[in-house]
């Protein structure tokens, strides 16, 4: 009869332990370094800094284009101010739209990354649950195997006892019966029953 399985035979190998440790170290590094960066990006994406910069730029572009090369004749053209006013409005509109685009892209980028992490976490949970499932299955299989082995052992003990009794007492009624019964059992097994 074989010995009982030893728990230490089922311990993780050094390679597996190291792999888990490295994975955990990388994970900790990621949380320490990148989590704060993503949070900063989230806060920055809420600010109006880009919008104000782009508006300043739009204003400067308009003024440079329309007043960088002044002349007396231009100052006397009374329609220029109205046209310049429209030009400024157009440039500011473009600045506002671009700032909105940048803000939205940044915000959805932050959310996508955060959600990606959450999605990864969910996938991880499914994987963790699969691990737990295989453990549960293994436990159930092991319990079942132990129960089956106990029953088989009981049967074997009974058979061995009857065989021995038959060998020792072949002339007795019970010994003869056990011999015939065991022989019939062996024939039945050999026939595939």
């Amino acid at each position: 009869m074989g010995s009982k399985p030893k728990k230490q035979d089922y311990q993780a190998s050094e390679a597996e332990k190291t792999s888990a440790s490295v994975a955990m170290a990388e994970r900790n590094y990621f949380k320490q370094k990148y989590d704060p960066l993503l949070r900063n990006m989230r806060d920055q994406s809420r600010s109006d800094d880009n919008r104000l910069n782009l508006r300043r730029r739009a204003n400067a572009d308009t003024m440079q284009a329309l007043t960088a090369d002044p002349s007396f004749a231009n100052t006397q053209r009374t329609g220029n101010a109205g046209l310049a006013s429209n030009a400024l409005l157009g440039q500011l509109g473009i600045a506002e739209k671009s700032a909105g685009d940048i803000k939205n892209t940044m915000q959805t980028g932050v959310l996508g990354t955060a959600r990606g992490q959450a999605a990864d976490a969910q996938t991880g949970m499914a994987q963790a649950s699969r691990l737990a499932t295989s453990d549960a299955l293994n436990r159930a299989k092991n319990n079942n195997a132990v129960r089956s082995a106990k029953m088989t052992a009981a049967g074997k003990v009974a058979r061995a006892a009857t065989q021995k009794y038959g060998e020792l007492n072949p002339d007795s009624k019970l010994g003869g019966f056990f011999n015939r019964a065991n022989s019939a059992y062996d024939d039945a097994r050999a026939a595939g029953y």
């Binding site: 900790n28 007396f72 109205g82 157009g90 509109g93 909105g100 939205n104 996508g112 969910q122 029953m151």
Partner: protein, 191 residues
Amino acid sequence: MYEGRLSEFGISNPQAGALPEVKDPEAAYAAITRGDYLDYVKKYRGFEEELINKSQTDTSLIDAAREDSAAAPDIMRQSAARNVSRYGTQLTPAQLQQQERGLQRQGTLGSIQSVADARIAQTENNQRLLSDLINIGQGVNRSSLSQLGSEAANANSRRRAYDNAKAQSKAQTYSTVGSLASTAILAAVFL
């Protein structure tokens, strides 16, 4: 706090330079997964709701266009006055009147156009934001459904394994008891 939770699962020295020891990788994995989700809820759930709301209600471009169209004529009036003053001269009352009319006319037209442009730009920006959010949401939904499917398959497999084990155990018990009983009966008959 998060590291504190990890230590409950046998992960030591998570902050140290040396490699941390992971005694129970499965529990650590579960703790990290739960921690990630809770971190998302704490740090990004409000942000996400803010963005969803913004994609449907944002009017910042239109508001800015309205404010700018009121302010732009004044800015250009002052700019024109500064340019004239640089030449040491000034506009006649008739020229000033003409300039004012031009500013008013262009200001009105410019205001109408910039607000109309801003409406289009706003709609475009909001729709793009909404579609980006929907894409993100779909990705999350897809992975959630896949996860749920996986859990359902696991549960089904566990139940079937349990049923099989029960049936196998019962069959084994009946078989052994039956063979012992038949041996005993036959023994009694021959005795």
